[in-house]
Subunit: 426 residues, 2 copies
């Protein structure tokens, strides 16, 4: 693997060979065009005049040529677009941070618009002193910063029944990874006082949003006091409207439905509320027809983002960067393996940085592609030694009729043309 | 300090006291309003209907209420807006990541627009095989991810002569901090082969951009082979137009002028070119009238971003979060101290995360403000034990007529009204 990157001498030899072939060394083949390529030999328009001035765009969007790197929905997935889903264009991104502007959305009654001065957060139930905070109150508490992934429980949900959606954006794009700043939920609960709650071990918090759905969820007190954040900013700036402006809950490693947006109320209770969102929805039906009561933690998962159906190989055989994302709600990613042959042989991928708890890792595998078909897979292993399962392994337990918590190994059939397709291997 | 955050019991006591005073405990005073506050007791419009659907905004901008969190320029700073500067709104951000959309710009001939298919990168000079790469060629090399700050050498430059600009955005906003993905410059140079260059110790690379200014700079080979990146993405997505789409050079820890945008050419040379941008510009005149030949590394620096002139205290006395940014081109931030009295006494601030090499650190100091005037300062110390100097210390060496590389300690006079002003202390 990666023969053309072993050093300058090898590379140059491959360049010389590459100029005459479509095989290894194709990277440098562009140089053959240098003498006659007006894009490098002639002065271009952009080097002959002035570009845009700094007054013109006080807050920019991506350049027009990247207009396909956007959130997309799947119209047939839900009947009502207001209560629907769109997907992060993970096939077109690199690194680990997801820009807020293209980070997936999932709403139960649409994205509402609320001014900071209209924001209120109530803490009630089994607390010593029920409190109502304004936004200005909240930002006076000590703040923390953390990068965390947020994955919808239904991410990859359409794949239970078969290889249905042709692109990493659609199969795995209900995930984003952002740097949050906010106040720990523990701090807020302590401000209201937990003596009245007695033994905290069997206590819960019920959290709900200010939107019409309210999307209420019960969280065990142990998690509430551990690492949950009442967040104000993502990637440095205010949460965008669709991400819960001005305040959302961050529940690291747990399903996105619990990350309540437009957070309105936190009630300390002595039992889970068993709301709609945690009973008829967001629970997993097993092969035997029973449903698992709750599945909060998002198990270790990964996907190759490129090449993939929306990101085909355009340059022919030779050096190829295979890349993707891996994450685990149980902790940090420790290793990612990549298979080119549908899981028969595995190659350890390179993590761009050591894994961080409940944050996305970027992996790379640099290969010298021979131009033949590949069945590309990736397999994540986290620091609890949990190994991402195959689709078959998951189905043995969960059957074909689940929706949520599908963390199976994904397969892309990469054809000799460079195009890729979502397939299943037995 | 921070008395109200010591634990729930203390906090609650302060809350009860706070309800009757403007002193400590004011955080929870909002709760006194709960009974009569229709924003929490009444059903609001946003809880009675549907919000925006996911189809409507495939790529979002910040919510309209945040329309003041934008890049701003200072019209009198340069005559021609095309060759001018704008500033990151650091006073309004939290965390460490700077969103691309509001990350400062500095152009020498405006921001140009180039398609990926029109992009070419030439490697020439003392290389074994001169090469021209297309964009598609470049993305076939192994990629890396790193978060780095980029600071313009002229950041804080107006402060040499006095306290001139009233806001952290203007005094310190020529900085951004993003996660880059790209290919190491070393890889690109090795692809062209460096045997022809002989002893690399006295060799240089001359790098230039595709815009009209070309903005050429010489970089010692040691740095070029160390940690420079040929970057394609920032914070996960393609570089925006103003940040060098499709390819910019990243020169970690070194002045922003060397981070060539729209990177067009890399020439291996046996001496620095001594271009305009590294002789008459971007050099530092000393007190004795001579100029230091080059100053590449950005020394350790910090600034309190809030409270600050553009981010006054709105809530009166009591718990107050003091926060800011620190960074060093020499390595990682190890410690930040904050003074409330113009440098007489220092308090160690809390770093939100351990410092990372050539990346911004966020610091916090949580205090119980007594409502009297403060002379707020911050002082960064990096892992080489370099300590950010006072303005007086810098002026003793550099005089009053410098422009670049001002990393002095900044002072904000925070008044009892909560408003703040840029001042100097002797």
């Amino acid at each position: 693997m990666s023969d053309s990157f072993k050093g300058p001498t090898t590379s140059r030899r491959q360049f010389l060979a590459g100029a005459a072939s479509v095989g290894a060394g194709a990277i440098a083949a562009g140089s053959a065009k240098a003498a006659g390529d007006p894009l490098i030999t002639e002065v271009q328009d952009w080097a002959s005049g002035l570009g845009e001035g700094v007054d013109e765009v006080p807050y920019s969007l991506p350049i027009e040529f990247e207009s396909d790197v956007i959130r997309r929905n799947v119209p047939w997935l839900t009947a009502d677009p207001i209560s629907s889903i769109n997907f992060t264009p993970i096939h077109a991104l690199d690194g680990t941070i997801t820009p807020q502007g293209c980070a997936f959305e999932r709403h139960h009654s649409g994205a509402i618009e609320m001014r900071k001065q209209d924001y209120r957060l109530m803490i009630n139930g089994l607390v010593d002193t029920p409190l109502v905070f304004t936004y200005e109150d909240l930002v006076r508490f000590p703040r923390e910063n953390h990068v965390y992934f947020c994955e919808c429980a239904a991410n990859t949900g359409m794949e239970w029944a078969g290889a249905q959606l042709n692109g990493a954006q659609f199969t795995h794009g209900m995930i984003h990874n952002m740097e949050y700043s906010g106040v720990s939920l523990r701090t807020i609960l302590q401000e209201a006082g937990l003596d009245a709650a007695g033994d905290l071990k069997d206590k819960w918090v019920y959290v709900e949003g200010a939107d019409a759905s309210s999307n209420g969820r019960s969280i065990p007190m142990e998690k509430a006091l551990d690492d949950c954040l009442v967040a104000f900013t993502a990637n440095g700036e205010a949460l965008r409207k669709e991400h819960g402006y001005p305040v959302r809950l961050v529940v690291p490693g747990w399903e996105g439905n619990m990350w309540i947006k437009w957070l309105r109320r936190i009630e300390v209770t002595d039992a889970p509320v068993e709301s709609r969102e945690e009973t008829s929805k967001y629970t997993d039906t097993q092969e035997d027809g029973t449903s698992r009561k709750w599945t909060w933690e998002m198990d270790a998962k990964s996907v190759v983002t490129s090449p993939s159906p929306q990101s085909p190989i355009k340059h022919g055989s030779g050096p190829l960067v295979i890349t993707g994302l891996a994450w685990s709600g149980r902790g940090a990613i420790e290793r990612v393996d990549v298979s080119l042959d549908g899981g028969k042989n595995w190659h350890e991928a390179r993590l761009a940085a050591p894994g961080e708890k409940m944050a996305v890792s970027r992996f790379y595998l640099d290969i010298n592609w021979d131009g033949t078909d590949m069945l590309l897979q990736s397999r994540a292993i986290d620091d609890t030694d949990y190994v991402q399962p195959t689709k078959t392994q998951l189905r043995d337990v969960r059957g074909l009729n689940s929706i949520y918590h599908n963390n199976c190994i994904q397969t892309w059939w990469v054809k000799s043309s460079g195009e890729a397709e979502n397939v299943e291997v037995s």
